[in-house]
Subunit: 555 residues, 2 copies
């Protein structure tokens, strides 16, 4: 019995913001029964993952241990916590537990992938619990920027763990349960072995602001607007969507939701009873007939996503509606680092249309859903765990979170993705480093981030591409001239002749002087033709392109 | 005589931050003598211009009128004002006027391109002037974040123009001339026809802070640091570099400059006499032998540039120096929107090394070089022009700048790149819209932004690439099987066979059923092979790749 241990192993989310996936285990070394908390995605970008549709955590380690996996628990319905549940369902096959709203969203994903919706099981909030092997897990309501977020209370034979999920301390969150100090104190009162704690806002030194503070400001803004008002926020921030809608109605405006995610989230929240009294809305079709000063749009695309409603409105028209001079567009949101260019593009497009854009610069129209530093410290105080394990954050966030624990009685551990920690040892110990990483959903298939596929795409984007075609006869003599086709390269270089002509000439000369031995050897010849092509292009246009060589042999 | 007019035509910088290039003209319509103010660059990114080295303004319009171009005036030595001078020298051939420090930088660029350094002429500051056709131009010192920045006083037969260049109102800039209210009032006292005015910080509502405010904070930080200190800022911000160096020396540290730009800027400033009393530095070679608590590095790479000193230090080592646990890295800079990912990457790398990173979040260690809204309004007050033309800003900045002029007696005009304005009409009038745009420096050649070259690269990055090779005999019958090579695509798709095998099989089947008429027609056959390849790939891996088809005919 003394041999059993409690392990913690982040597969995603620790060392990055997004793609959360945390394994807990209990049992004899190597034979632990496992549960997974969250299974999220992160989003690709042109810099590092062009053409990729979605980034999923690499769950190879867990797949090998799938026989030990008892269940998956999802803390809330943000994509970086629930987004990979359906994509990875086949490989893990474990039941998924979540509260009603989160389960509703998860089931929609399962259905889209043709997986059984009943694999997702709805759980009632704490003090009810679910038993999964040696674990007893409860969903304790916690405030965040989406309904029914929960911290997990995970009881093991060696003590209680608390996994906060994403959270803030908000006693007036608008929609959903306020932060309940008394409940959390009750949960902690008999001692907590370890607190796994959200870290994303550890660098924000001021106390967090309540969702309830933005309502009056938004109302003032909408009431004073002259033309049409369009506002964007994360669709999943149902409380905010409601605040925006209510501001519209109070200003005598008809409210129209635009963008699929917006409708889907409101529907899910109404279906599961977390959203009540949402103002009546008009369809985009009907909105067209509403005078602009009486209309309020609530639209998707707060991050400047190219296909979302905000971007399409900025491009000129969406579902028959066009903004114009004197209208107002409100970003009731913050721009996530990396999305600045897309958001700024939209703001400038609106500026060209004469639309007044109001963003979060003033801090009036948005509050974060995460606990700032003082709130993290408050949570430490409430839970008073023996160990704090900072999670959900880049390395800098985790490290800072460890630092602020230094003066306190508890031990803090920095564990990035792949670090397996023994939480039940006297001092939390690193047991091993497990290989983790990212899996790309690319079109309809999953590929490894390190497979070289995306690396090749980036290289083509940076260097352009040349296809080289050479045909040789049975004596390895060239049949005709080499043929080149270029893509993504200047047509004319410094010698003022077409680049393809220069390449073909240089390749032809090379073939003329290449020995029989090289010409007889496909690999060697390919290598040499590639070298000559790159060298020739470099001399002509100053770039060394990617080269595909096709050698055909007639016999 | 009454027929003559004063024109203003931005070719870059109006509707964007960066790539400044402003044409002024005086004369009869279509026959105006011209001057160009600034000729800068902007920087490429993976999203919009992968593989591009530098983005230059498209000067086609000006090149057609080069016979009328009297001179180029460069306000200051930032890349977005001087960076294209050498690249476009051949096409314009006009003399370049600048003050000593700016001229020093411009000459280095000319030399690198093999152009005559004497094409760059050094000008003394206002009240001295240069005559260029009908224009008399003076360089009036103005404070900014680089030495010897100047606003231009441009006298025409129809009145005085003031072109601020980039500026702030700083009466204690550290290095270089303080903002001189009296001088500017004197310049304006007989009336100014039009003020062309920096707009980049129009959304910053608080008064600007002086460069002199950061010194004491930086000193405190460096004095309290335990290990090595490394700090980064724009190398061209010579005042800041000096402040950093002095903070190092006062804390008893040897100072080492790292990164070529850092050394080059300090050298240029010393050569031209704008920088005096810069502390003695040690070479990177000698720095290796200095105890880390006695060393201060000042390094390039404040924007996270991959090859700069900061990125290399974050990767582990630069010129023999390695940061480690307990060292401090200071960003005495702001992250330009769009560069967040690169900067955050570096911060996290340092975090992994245990290095404490201090950034500008606190606002203590950096001030902007541009005039905030109250300072813009102060400048309007000082100059009291008939017309204000906001320049250097995205559309949203220019529009906001126009807005803040509304309550004032002067007329404000929103003129984006390509808008030719008659400044001498009773009301400033748009004369015509000139085609403008961007030219890419790509390797060693210049290509048009709209040539499709970069578009093809982006497509390959998003969709991957397939080379298809088909050989036909004299009867248009396939000789052997079609051959495919793929790049940037998953190797195996849903049918669990190699993608190339599936593509080749589908192409082979297509060729089998294609009629003679199609097989005999290169264009038609190519189109069909491309279609089949994309369709087959889409069914197999859910992506429609870019396709290069090479058809060889044996005869």
């Amino acid at each position: 019995m003394s041999n059993e241990r409690v392990i913690y192993l982040p597969l995603g989310g620790a060392g990055e913001i997004g793609m959360n996936a945390y394994v807990y285990g209990y049992g004899k070394p190597g034979k632990e029964k496992l549960i997974l908390v969250d299974l999220g995605v992160t989003f690709p970008d042109m810099d590092g993952s062009p053409g990729v549709d979605l980034i999923l955590p690499d769950i190879s380690w867990l797949e090998k241990r799938k026989g030990d996996l008892e269940a998956i628990f999802v803390t809330h319905a943000h994509e970086d916590h629930v987004g990979a549940v359906a994509h990875h369902y086949d490989r893990l096959g474990a039941p998924v537990y979540a509260r009603a709203f989160t389960a509703n969203i998860a089931r929609r994903k399962m259905a889209e992938h043709g997986h059984p919706e009943k694999a997702v099981r709805t759980v009632s909030p704490w003090p009810e619990t679910v038993t999964a092997g040696p674990f007893t897990v409860g969903f304790a309501p916690i405030s965040h920027s989406i309904p029914e977020s929960s911290g997990l209370v995970i009881d093991t034979p060696k003590g209680r763990l608390v996994h906060t999920g994403d959270f803030k301390i908000d006693t007036a969150p608008g929609v959903g349960e306020p932060f309940d100090h008394a409940m959390w104190e009750e949960i902690a009162k008999d001692g907590v072995l370890a607190l796994m704690c959200d870290s994303t806002n550890v660098f924000s030194r001021h106390e967090g602001r309540s969702e309830s503070t933005v309502g009056p400001e938004i109302e003032k803004l909408v009431a004073s607007a002259k033309g049409m008002v369009a506002a964007t926020t994360f669709a999943s921030n149902v409380a905010r969507v409601k605040t925006l809608a209510e501001a519209g109605v109070r200003a005598g405006r008809s409210v129209c939701l635009m963008g699929r995610a917006m409708r889907r989230m409101v529907d899910a929240a109404e279906e599961t009873g977390v959203l009540k009294g949402f103002p009546q809305t008009v369809s985009p079709e009907d909105a067209k007939n509403v005078p602009r000063e009486n209309l309020m749009l609530i639209v998707t695309g707060s991050q400047g996503e190219r296909r979302a409603a905000s971007a399409q409105l900025a491009n000129g028209k969406y579902q028959g509606i066009t903004l114009k001079e004197g209208d107002t567009f409100l970003f009731s949101s913050k721009t996530i680092p990396g999305n600045e260019r897309g958001v700024i593009r939209i703001i400038n497009q609106f500026s060209e249309m004469g639309v007044d854009v109001v963003d979060d610069d003033s801090g009036l129209y948005h509050v974060s859903g995460h606990a700032n530093r003082p709130d993290l410290e408050a949570m430490h105080e409430i839970i008073r765990p023996q160990i704090v394990v900072p999670m959900h954050g880049e390395h800098r966030h985790l490290r800072e979170h460890v630092k602020i624990c230094k003066p306190k009685p508890m031990k803090a551990v920095l564990a990035v993705n792949g670090t397996m920690i023994d939480l039940s040892a006297n001092t939390p110990t690193v047991l091993e480093y497990v290989e983790t990483g990212r899996t790309y959903l690319d079109g309809s298939v999953q590929v490894g981030a390190m497979d070289g596929i995306v690396r090749d795409r980036i290289r083509m984007a940076l260097n352009g591409h040349v296809s080289v075609n050479v045909i040789l006869d049975e004596d390895d003599e060239p049949l005709g001239e080499p043929w080149c086709e270029v893509k993504g390269l200047a047509e004319i270089g410094i010698s003022n002749a077409p680049l393809v002509d220069v390449l073909e000439e240089d390749l032809s000369q090379y073939l003329g002087r290449a020995g029989n031995k090289v010409r007889a050897n496909d690999d060697k010849l390919e290598e040499e033709l590639r070298r000559v092509t790159r060298q020739s292009a470099n001399a002509e246009i100053g770039k060394k392109p990617e080269v595909t060589v096709i050698i055909s042999r007639m016999s």
